[in-house]
């Protein structure tokens, strides 16, 4: 597994088509990992692009870190990763909380972001995330995983998830840091984003309203509602991969 050191921290990355001249950087969401892109979406993008995926701190196979889950720290991480990989600028895409990281990148480091795709990025003002983190315990995890329409996972899988959630919610600053971003959507800085932005949302997702809100705030944004909910990258990976590829390649053709 490619584990690289970025600022003396171990970061798990995966790269495809390193020979391509243009790079797409993919950011996953909270409690997820890079596998959300690895199997279906990244191979589509890698036909024409160098694709970089990485695991956020404490997620997937990256090192466990107790602090720095606010958007400034997380975008510093992205900027350092890009420097470490000698990528001066890239097409950027983020899913869920990774969408907020990507949007913040466009705000803080506009010269590093060529174009932006935000996939079902939530409004951080939504209380549901805070309530979920506050109420978390092993029982709530098991109830969720054993819910309707879900394949009942075994003990080892539940243990692994539980260890991650316990670490994030009880041993790190993630709750406080995420709550500190509540007003991100009301910040004037979002209106300063000039990059062409594609907003991909599930038409049944509770986050769709956030997508509509961002469409109104970002001057050069288009919103597409796909058939699915917040799990849209798993439900429509091929469609998302193809739409992203076409969106990113258009600019290349114009350049």
């Amino acid at each position: 597994m490619p584990i690289i050191s970025v600022n003396n921290r171990d970061v798990h990355i995966q790269e495809l088509n390193t020979a391509a001249s243009e790079t797409i950087l993919l950011v996953h969401g909270m409690l997820g990992n890079l596998s959300v892109y690895y199997f279906r979406i990244a191979p589509i993008l890698a036909k024409h692009f160098h694709v970089v995926m990485y695991d956020l701190k404490s997620h997937g196979m990256s090192e466990k870190i107790t602090t720095g889950y606010d958007l400034n720290s997380l975008t510093d991480d992205v900027a350092h990763l890009m420097e470490r990989l000698s990528i001066s600028s890239a097409y950027l895409a983020g899913y869920s909380f990774g969408g907020l990281i990507s949007l913040k990148m466009a705000v803080r480091f506009p010269h590093r972001v060529k174009k932006l795709v935000l996939i079902d990025a939530p409004n951080p003002n939504d209380d549901k995330t805070r309530m979920m983190m506050d109420a978390y315990n092993r029982e709530s995890l098991e109830n969720y995983l054993n819910g309707p329409n879900k394949t009942k996972p075994g003990k080892r899988l539940i243990d692994r998830k539980h260890r991650l959630y316990e670490h994030l919610f009880h041993e790190t600053t993630i709750k406080r840091d995420v709550m500190g971003e509540r007003d991100f959507f009301s910040a004037a800085e979002i209106a300063q984003v000039k990059q062409e932005t594609l907003l991909l949302y599930g038409c049944y997702s509770p986050c769709l309203e956030a997508g509509e809100s961002l469409k109104g705030k970002i001057s050069n944004a288009a919103l597409v509602a796909l058939n699915g909910d917040h799990d849209i990258p798993l439900q429509e990976p091929e469609k998302i991969g193809n739409m992203m590829e076409s969106f990113f390649r258009n600019q290349m053709a114009q350049a």
Binding site: M1, Y38, F39, T151
Partner: protein, 99 residues
């Protein structure tokens, strides 16, 4: 080390043993010993591997076989349900066909 140089074609049993070794490296010997790893084992239900462990397993296959086997390309044609239900024997067969 992930990268192993192989010479010649592997038979079914050799491929199975290699994949079993990869799984053991990914999930750890302690868990692997408890599992009855067979051709019929599915990654999620039987081996209880999560998505990032399946990434690690895929990387080991790529590192071992190189360009001879487009394993992630093969996986990319599957939807999430097919991926979850994927059995070890199907991968053995795929690798055998590609060699």
């Amino acid at each position: 080390m992930d990268t192993i140089v192989t010479a010649g074609k592997l038979n079914n049993e050799e491929i199975f043993n290699l994949l079993k070794q990869f799984i053991t490296e990914v999930i750890g010997e302690e868990f692997a010993e408890e599992m009855d790893i067979s051709m019929e084992s599915s990654f999620n239900k039987d081996l209880e591997m999560d998505s990032i462990e399946i990434v690690a397993f895929s990387e080991k296959i790529k590192a071992h076989f190189g360009d001879k086997i487009d394993f992630t390309g093969w996986l990319s044609d599957m939807d999430i349900d097919q991926l979850i239900a994927l059995k070890l024997g199907m991968i053995v067969k795929f690798i055998e066909t590609c060699q």
